[in-house]
């Protein structure tokens, strides 16, 4: 009996060895596809956590582009996506960026929605020598703060956003008294810096500046202070989760000021979480609205037909273009990491967002930014909105004249 058991034991051991050896060596020879080789592209974005929607929107758009390219049938290679979740946490992002770069099959990456995360992985991509095309992070330093050839960006930066923001609110709408709240990550600080600069250019100084952490839930103390200063506008440089809380508490404390945000709150969540309290808020986004983009309507149609559960959100279109330009580069120079870095840097092409050209810092110079107004639970481009046309009154206008503001939106 013992002998038999022993034999069984040795047999199992041999079986294990055989199995493992075969797996090891079978992986070595990949599946031989008919002719075309598979090239892997990495996609990094926040797929879980508070900004999951933005990351998923970007991922879906990226996937859409890749699928369309593969369906064309005229490309030299078949493209596959390896997706990584950065959770909008810098440490996690460094880990997944390292993981992506250590995978020799991945030839280039498209990365990040969160600025504070993107700024940290620039070093990782540089160290490993892998091209990373940013599709959603707006902190200027990501491209301008270094001379890494590996990092390029399709979307705009906070500089343009905030300049446009100031020109709308100060020059056009005539607001003068601003209180600024910013989140203490590099993203929020970036907005603070550039918006303050834009205000100063117009001879204005903010009435107050207050920092909040991204986990913070209670803003009553700052808001009490702000209330006593009686501003016309409360500017918030930060992301949706915090923005929702601040606006809610602002309204509860009956602070009579216009709420002004940045690309950070340009999300569906902002409107769905706040319902009627979002009405009349203003925010910014780099680039033109999707409907106005040269290829925007087709993108919209294709996205809807593809049947994704989530909307493409603010930066979907940029992720889409990132995919296309990476693929274009691979088709030109082949799946070689080093060559791709060079090739992607010289991108000069047209896509749905318009002309894409990377300057010497790898930044796509998009001079344009668009303002949006929250109208009936949706973000409408400013020039199309009833507020711009004068059919509806901005809360800020009513408060400026010491009147109550009638909220036209009743869901």
């Amino acid at each position: 009996m013992m002998r038999k058991m022993r034999k069984l034991g040795i047999l199992t051991l041999i079986l294990v060895m055989v199995v493992s050896l075969t797996t090891v060596f079978s992986y070595g020879c990949g599946p031989k596809e008919e002719g075309k080789k598979t090239v892997k592209l990495g996609f990094i974005g926040p797929l879980t956590g508070k900004y999951a929607k933005m990351g998923t929107g970007g991922f879906n758009s990226f996937t859409l582009a890749v699928d369309q390219q593969n369906a064309k049938g005229t490309n030299k290679y078949i493209y596959e996506i390896e997706v990584f979740d950065d959770e909008c946490i810098p440490q996690k992002a460094v880990e997944v960026a390292t993981k992506a770069c250590s995978n020799p099959d991945i030839v280039a990456c498209a990365s990040h929605y969160c600025s504070m995360v993107a700024i940290t992985t620039t070093d990782v991509f540089h160290k490993f020598g892998v091209s990373s095309t940013v599709w959603g992070a707006v902190l200027p330093d990501i491209t301008y703060g270094n001379d890494y050839k590996e990092v390029c960006r399709v979307n705009g930066t906070q500089v343009e956003q905030n300049e446009f923001n100031a020109s709308l609110t100060v020059d056009e709408l005539g607001f003068k008294k601003f209180c600024i709240i910013y989140d203490t990550t590099d993203y929020g600080r970036g907005h603070l810096e550039y918006f303050t600069k834009s205000l100063q250019k117009r001879g204005l100084e903010p009435l107050s500046i207050d920092g909040v952490t991204i986990d913070q839930k209670d803003f009553s103390a700052i808001l009490a202070k702000i209330k006593s200063l009686e501003p016309e506008v409360v500017y918030f440089g930060g992301l949706t989760a915090t923005g929702v809380l601040i606006k809610t508490q602002m309204d509860k404390m009956e602070i009579r000021a216009q709420f002004l945000g940045t690309s950070g709150i340009k999300s569906e969540d902002f409107n769905s979480a706040l319902k009627e309290h979002a009405e009349g808020s203003i925010c910014m986004l780099d680039g033109a609205p999707v409907e106005k983009m040269p290829g925007g309507l087709e993108f919209k149609k294709a996205y809807e037909e593809a049947g994704f559960k989530e909307p493409y959100e603010a930066y979907g279109a940029f992720a889409y273009c990132a995919a296309n330009l990476i693929i274009k580069a691979v088709e030109t120079v082949g799946p070689d990491r080093e060559k791709l870095i060079e090739e992607i840097n010289t991108t000069d092409t047209e896509d749905i967002i318009g002309h894409i050209h990377f300057n010497e810092y790898g930044q796509n110079d998009i001079p344009l930014a668009t303002a949006y107004a929250s109208q009936d639970g949706k973000w409408i481009p400013w020039s199309d909105s009833l507020y711009a046309k004068g059919d509806r009154e901005l809360p800020g206008f009513a408060y400026r004249e010491n009147r109550e503001w009638d909220n036209p939106y009743n869901p």
Partner: protein, 399 residues
């Protein structure tokens, strides 16, 4: 005849260890979920096998126990060979080497905590914060003051030890759950402070921390064809072995004995003339020194540190390694680190459920094996007693 048997023994041990090593590398390599599950089943089956066939297991155990030195030498050899062999078998070897290095770093931190929690019974819920102190110290010194990286490592350790002194007064005055709360609050404070002080980077942390550079040789440079984490691998391996040796000596000396005494019954120890405060202080600072050193290495290697890495969740991970692996037991701590760090990395499939399973694991382990998977056994008293008999000094300098 004896020599031949000995040779056979060595061969057996070497082959078993090499086999396990190889299987681990294959484990790293496999991506497909089904094979992973099959691996788990295999491990489960092996455990079952050892349960049922006690006799075979006993003989293997005895084999390993009696040839301690051989086991260790073979192990070290295999570990040394790993970076050379792994790129052949694992395509993503850079990443796994990184994970192994990370595990080594966690082992160092956990061993530090083990001295405090396992040996002395002091509940320190801020281990990640001290790890952070070491990391930030090394980072700031290397980055802003351009200190040579190697020197920052021991300095970081000392810094962490010094910071721990701040805690000494509360430690001295409180015990049990109060100490837990104090360290918890302290850890929170350090993490929050790091998040808000821009001078040390704020929520973005510190970037571009230079790596270790020995006489012009950058540790992050490629070694021939082997990727750039190889140097760090050996460096960390050496330090981990050093830490293990130090911990082991601590444990087996009358220092360890005294600490255990304080843990088990402090009033009694005091009654025997043990100055528990002095020993607690020693335990606190030594443990934090290890944590600081580990943090420094991490900072220098990765080149980027930020507050989320040093928050309570990390402290919790370290505490779990000690408690689940086995309190006051070096092997237990190592096993704990391997289970809690490497396995979750592999099972990305269940990434969603990872943290939840982790919480459940803690509860289950504490309910069933409250002293950890590999708890410390009874001490071997002969050594200390014999030592005393032979005229060596006892715990308080008395013969």
């Amino acid at each position: 005849m004896k020599k031949k048997n000995k040779f056979l023994d060595i061969l057996k041990i070497a082959s078993i260890e090499t086999l396990i090593f190889f299987l681990i590398m294959v484990f790293f390599r496999i991506e497909s979920t089904w094979i992973l599950l099959a691996t788990l089943a295999l491990i489960g089956g092996t455990l079952l096998y050892t349960r049922i066939y006690k006799k075979q297991t006993e003989s293997i155990k005895a084999l390993f126990a009696s040839n301690r030195s051989t086991v260790l030498i073979v192990l070290v050899l295999l570990l040394l060979l790993y970076p050379i062999v792994s790129p052949i078998i694992i395509p993503q070897s850079t990443y796994w080497t990184l994970i192994l290095i990370q595990t080594g770093i966690y082992i160092m931190v956990a061993l530090g905590l083990n001295i405090q929690l396992g040996s002395t019974g002091m509940m320190n819920l801020a281990s990640a914060a001290f790890y952070g102190v070491g990391a930030y110290t090394a980072g700031m010194l290397a980055l802003k003051l351009n200190w040579p990286a190697l020197i920052t490592i021991p300095v970081a350790g000392i810094a962490a030890a010094l910071v721990s002194l701040v805690l000494f007064l509360p430690v001295y005055k409180t015990k049990g759950h109060y100490l837990a709360l104090v360290t918890l609050a302290f850890g929170y404070m350090l993490a929050l402070a790091a998040d808000n002080i821009e001078f040390i980077g704020g929520p973005q942390g510190l970037k571009n921390i230079p790596s270790i550079n020995l006489f012009g040789y950058d540790f992050l440079s490629k070694v021939g064809n082997f990727h750039f984490y190889t140097n760090y691998y050996y460096f960390v391996l050496a330090l981990v072995i050093l830490t293990i040796i130090i911990s082991h000596r601590f444990f087996n000396s009358w220092i360890g004995l005294t600490l255990s005494y304080i843990r088990d019954d402090e009033p009694a120890a005091k009654g025997c003339g043990v100055n528990s405060n002095r020993w607690k202080l020693l335990s606190l600072t030594t443990g934090c020194f290890f944590m600081g050193v580990a943090g420094a290495i991490y900072a220098l290697m990765i080149g980027f540190i930020s507050p989320p890495n040093f928050q309570f969740a990390q402290s919790l991970l370290i505490v779990s390694i000690v408690i689940i692996g086995g309190m006051d037991n070096i092997l237990g701590v190592i096993v704990g680190a391997i289970i809690l760090v490497i396995i979750p990395e592999k099972f990305r499939v269940i990434t969603q459920y990872r943290v939840m399973l982790y919480g459940i694991l803690i509860v289950v382990v504490l309910l069933s094996r409250p002293r950890g998977l590999i708890p410390f056994g009874a001490r071997k008293y002969e050594a200390s007693v014999l030592g005393a008999r032979n005229g060596k000094e006892g715990p308080d300098g008395n013969k």
